[in-house]
Point group: C2
Amino acid sequence: MKLKPKFKLWLEVDGKPVIGEGRADLLMEIYETGSLSAAARNLRISYRHAHEMLSELNERCGMGIIATEVGGASGGGTRLTAKGRKLVESYQAMKNELENWLENRSS
Amino acid sequence: MKLKPKFKLWLEVDGKPVIGEGRADLLMEIYETGSLSAAARNLRISYRHAHEMLSELNERCGMGIIATEVGGASGGGTRLTAKGRKLVESYQAMKNELENWLENRSS
DNA sequence: CACCGTTATGCACGAGAATGCATAACGATA
DNA sequence: TATCGTTATGCATTCTCGTGCATAACGGTG
């Protein structure tokens, strides 16, 4: 019986989840595409859901993670702010450290 | 914005979860009460669900984690085997180590 | 002005998980 | 033999989460 440890990691503020695997992936995709709808398409999740994820994130972080634009030639877009990039990076860093710790752990 | 790291940890075999927080609590309660129905009552979960949790665990571990008895003066009971206790202990140990690591981590 | 792609929102629907309830089998004990 | 508390299982109901679809607002561009 080979047991393999698995984990999920996320960050909370006031007891509510702010960023985990799902939102981190979404924010990264937004950073790369500059569009929420494109990010949702790439991740194969519904736009409806992706938008809800951002909405909750903003509620819990007091805005400033993303910046949206509506209308225009391109139709609009969603940008990841510097603050948002730092949030993703700090999550990714912690997750990577945890993965390494778990791999090198003397069981 | 105060960010607090949280995590869930579990052990898998063949890509399927064997023990996590839920089953660990259930097994510990069985160890203390010697009864699945009592364990479910104490944990405020349905017997139906508790039984299903054990059923899946046995499927994935090839039996030997618990020993059940039906009928008799006491009605029967469910015991945690030595193998079962070791499983819970190894999970608890890993979880505690991870908690400590996360607390002492230089953010 | 009409078009287009994006953000944004409401609502019905489906899948999966857990609950609640009913029922059966079991076996020592009075 | 009748009782009792437990294990065990089936099935309808409920709840949550994500999907799918419809619709509106927006604002450059042709």
